[in-house]
Symmetry: C2
Subunit: 329 residues, 2 copies
Amino acid sequence: MGEKVTIATVARHAQVSRQTVSNVLNAPHIVREDTRRRVHEAITALGYRANQAARQMRTGRSRLIAVRIEPTRDGINGSVLDRFLHGLTETADASGYRVLLYTARGDEQEIATYDDLLGAYDLDAFVLTGTKHGDPRTAWLAERQVPFVTFGRPWDTPEAHPWVDVDGAAGTAQATRHLLAAGHRRIAFVGWPAGSGVGDDRRAGWRTTMAEVGLHDAAPDRETEDGIAEGQREARALLALDAPPTAVLCVSDSLALGAWQAARDAAADLAVIGFDDTPVAAAVGLSSVSQPLGEAAARCVELLTGLLDGQRRDPRLLLNPSLVLRHSA
Amino acid sequence: MGEKVTIATVARHAQVSRQTVSNVLNAPHIVREDTRRRVHEAITALGYRANQAARQMRTGRSRLIAVRIEPTRDGINGSVLDRFLHGLTETADASGYRVLLYTARGDEQEIATYDDLLGAYDLDAFVLTGTKHGDPRTAWLAERQVPFVTFGRPWDTPEAHPWVDVDGAAGTAQATRHLLAAGHRRIAFVGWPAGSGVGDDRRAGWRTTMAEVGLHDAAPDRETEDGIAEGQREARALLALDAPPTAVLCVSDSLALGAWQAARDAAADLAVIGFDDTPVAAAVGLSSVSQPLGEAAARCVELLTGLLDGQRRDPRLLLNPSLVLRHSA
DNA sequence: CATCAGCATTGGATCGTTCAAGGCGGCGAG
DNA sequence: CTCGCCGCCTTGAACGATCCAATGCTGATG
């Protein structure tokens, strides 16, 4: 339709210079009230939108945030990222940022992608999900002073970089207390093999809570890979014990679902609580610990915009999950 | 570390002019073999990456594709978009494009977002998911000649714009044939209220297949909103019939899961097949019709790059889903 | 030997924005 | 009265790439 509307068009229309229009947008306080209003009127009248490419070329900032999207590994856990991503996009929008996606197989390729994105698109910041011990990605980014936030704690050095995370231990502690309050005494835990930050954290919440009430002995602790079949297997093993537990707390919904199915098949009276409150849990009526993903995403964006604006807020945030009760416990 | 690497840096390093470097990148055939090689060596040696902002300003193309991410409505169906998005990002990457996310509440706001994205970021193209009758979004984009592809047919006018879709009718037909081959004669369908393109399409596959074998009379057809509780209700109603069906085909996994649970609770021998092959279906062992989401995404990107390069391929693609068999049928 | 075609290469202009520097009127201080 | 300063605005230059027109070079031809 109409010709391209640039800052010059607006300037002509408002009878001022280009720079004044630019100032209205970027430093309104140095422009006189009525001039500012006149420029704003011209902007809306013409439907002007600042060209990001041109702005970016001059300032080196793109107002773009990169987020990795992973292949849905499990299928069950995929929805977690999905919800997080949605929250991220929405909050970023509100702050004038946009979310750019990328994929990568393996850390090395991911780092190459950083390089690419930074070089070609001048990305402002990165959001990483799923951190692990000795993560090479955060090291690379930190070394180059690229602003980034992780959703997930750096498990080695808590102060290494800004992060947002959900307090897994608090979640399992809450679940454990709920089971205790319901009269359970033998409460087992089915978790991942020790060594993963997330898994160990969640296990710790259960363990300390059980220890607090002196029930540590009546608390079988199992380690297994993630999966429904694995959950079934562990539940069967637990039920075959001399003094089987009356409740099981699982580190994931996959394991919890398996355990729940195994208990039902064996007609055993076993309370089960999972973790992540995935759609699967909701669908089959499984109680689960729910992460505040929307809030986590919002905090990530807040931290990033803070970083980019040079503000210094406390760059580490631990959020509390909540327990969602359904039929299974 | 090193200073910013621009096209001039590369030119100096390779002992040629800026334009020659540009030609190597954009029109390699007009540059002499050995010159080209020398330039390429300089590029890799310096780690040069073309600045997209500068390129975009001159050419007006951003190599960016926008995709909407929706709030996970159901929770169960969210994973479909998730997998599609992953495929999209991966294929786009391979073609040198990047995926930009956006959210919007309602069509009006979404159209405003188009305007914004086009004005500010010079987006090259859009991918829309979930089309409906009389979609105002596609009309808006078409009117402005913005390149776009929809994942989902335009249900009013098949030739309106390029699209990729999965043949829902073929999927339900395949599922119906499977049930027939397994000896079922009374096969019910639980679908959404007539009027939604997707739902009607899926219903049609079942109906025509049943009609082909003259079993149309023995085929109860139910209409209901989506949801697990709704699926349970419909299954109970079906089982209470004088001549209850021995199998149920559902338009979604949510409904199928509900039906499957109701049948189990009633200890009824009822085969159930769902649609979308969501993680929930996989988790509980529900047979389902699976959409080739990765391929659909790849085709979307192919179509778009074709459009952008001015190629004229057939811009309409109907893909075949496949039946995934588990315990439930 | 002069001319010209064919091709690779060069310099300058350009996209839309922001930064740096400067102009200009008015006001208070010396 | 003059000077300096402040607030507000304008002008020229720059970011890094591509496009366009012009130039240099080589070799073949009249």
